[in-house]
Amino acid sequence: MPAAMTTPDPDRLLAEVSELVARFAPPGAKLERTTELTSDLSIDSVAAMDLVMEIEDRYGIDVPVNEIADLVTLGDLVDLVARQLGARG
């Protein structure tokens, strides 16, 4: 079951998403809004889609694949999740 059914506040959302990102990142990697998924965390295009799938399950949302390619930073990912949660209402 999704853990959160309403949009969490931005800081909490960043913390929650960072927790999921950490599973795909090198141990001990610094996770901030400006952290780049590919160049800083070595998360390739396929791993990014798997990461998004974890996020989808956590929040009960579906992020269209078409939008994943545009993600550069952790902040972009958090904003995308926030948009999807907002769209769901």
Binding site: T38, S39, S42, D44, S45, V46, A47, M49, D50, M53, G60, I61, D62, P64, V65, N66
Partner: protein
């Protein structure tokens, strides 16, 4: 800034791979001695990574058909199907494929890649949603993106997850298209098609099944996994390729949908490329006839697959799926996979090296594909080489 700067990470990985020995992704085959043996780096090598499941690339009837077509119709069509590129052979092959698959109509494409690209992008539009298995082939991914539809991935071979995602993604004014593969090309596992069909029916979705690796291999007549599992009637569109069991190059899609032929004027990857050459069409027609007439090829392939799977398991290798035409061996990391691939090649066995991001879940694989044309001696030699590899992998790699 240079236009290639964005590939810095890729370039570094490539340089690292090249430093270990032969380039695994551009291996040069110098000569061939039948479907299962080649000369590579001057060495006689057993081919165990070619998708030549039925060994038809050297079938005399297929070769003769191709040669005759070359002489009669020339080397190429020089035009697309919607211009000057539709010959009698293209139409005949389409009729034969439709009959073989028990479908109303078939469309032939120039490559297997384009078959998925054209069919998916032709079927789905910007009001539709595509629900696609997360272990998708690149051609499915690209077809999804080209379509402009909303694309939702579901967990690999997980009908329950598919059900949930269909539930929470309504498509007002549009349709839902599910895309799965019969036999997944990296791990060699088979789709849970009966359960996927049940979910499809529940949600009123369309189902497209890519039988690229399963055509000619599964089912009583070789039609694929849908035939094997008795659900052909529930699959709306089947895509296949000529470059595996049929031993050629090209692809096809078949359907019973009464408006299926509209793809001929709607699917851009079909419309805006030259049609398959006459020799290819002729050899594929001959190969299709061979598959229909010689079910023993399929039986032989499965016998070989079971033999090799059992032998590799005995040697302690971890195989990703039960016996089948694709036998993928999991290795712990990229370094050991690259080492193992080079070691096998040096000992005269070619397999595919599969690494992330080209593999699901970051897996590092030695991907073997079995052929009906492999002899008992081939398999014996292969297992002998894998035994040596197992011994080498048991030692620390730094010692190599």
């Amino acid at each position: 800034m240079d236009i290639f700067d964005k590939y810095q990470t890729l370039a570094a990985r490539r340089a690292q791979l090249l430093a270990t020995g032969t380039d695994p992704f551009h291996l040069e085959i110098e000569d061939l001695a039948g479907p299962c043996e080649a000369t590579i780096a001057g060495r006689r090598t057993i081919l165990l990574g070619t998708n030549n499941y039925l060994g038809l690339t050297f079938d005399p009837a297929c070769i003769e058909a191709g040669v005759e077509a070359l002489r009669r119709y020339g080397t190429g069509t020089t035009g697309s199907r919607i211009a000057n590129g539709t010959y009698a052979g293209h139409r005949a092959l389409e009729a034969e494929l439709a009959a073989f698959m028990g479908r109303r109509a078939a469309i032939v494409f120039t490559t297997g890649y384009q078959a998925n690209l054209a069919t998916i992008a032709g079927l789905a539009g910007n009001k539709d949603a595509i629900f696609v298995d997360s272990d998708w082939h690149a051609s499915i991914f690209d077809g999804c993106l080209l379509s402009g539809a909303k694309v939702v991935r579901f967990r690999h071979n997980d009908p329950e997850d598919l059900d949930r995602r269909l539930e929470r993604n309504p498509t007002p004014g549009g349709c839902k298209l599910i895309v799965v593969e019969g036999l997944y090309s990296m791990f060699g596992d088979v789709a849970r098609l009966a359960e996927i069909v049940a979910v499809k029916k529940k949600h009123g979705a369309f189902l497209l099944l890519d039988e690229a690796h399963s055509f000619g291999v599964f089912g009583a007549r070789g039609r694929g996994v849908a035939e094997e599992l008795g659900v052909e009637g529930e699959v709306d569109f089947v895509v296949g390729t000529f470059s595996k069991s049929l031993g050629g190059i090209g692809g096809f899609a078949v359907s019973d949908h009464p408006r299926f032929e509209l793809l001929r004027v709607a699917a851009r990857p079909y419309m805006f490329t030259a049609s398959p050459g006459p020799a290819t069409i002729a050899s594929v027609r001959a190969a299709l006839a061979r598959i229909a007439a010689r079910p023993e090829l399929r039986a032989r392939l499965w016998e070989n697959a079971r033999c090799l799977h059992a032998g590799l398991t005995r040697l302690g290798f971890e195989l990703a799926a039960p016996p089948g035409p694709i036998l993928s061996i999991r290795l712990p990391d990229e370094r050991s996979a690259v080492f193992a691939w080079n070691r096998l090649l040096e000992s005269g066995v070619y397999v595919n090296l599969a690494l992330p991001p080209g593999t699901p879940g970051g897996a590092c694989l030695l991907r073997c594909s079995v052929s009906a044309a492999h002899t008992a001696e081939h398999l014996e030699t292969v297992l002998d080489r894998f035994a040596s590899l197992a011994a080498a992998l048991a030692q620390p790699l730094a010692a190599e």
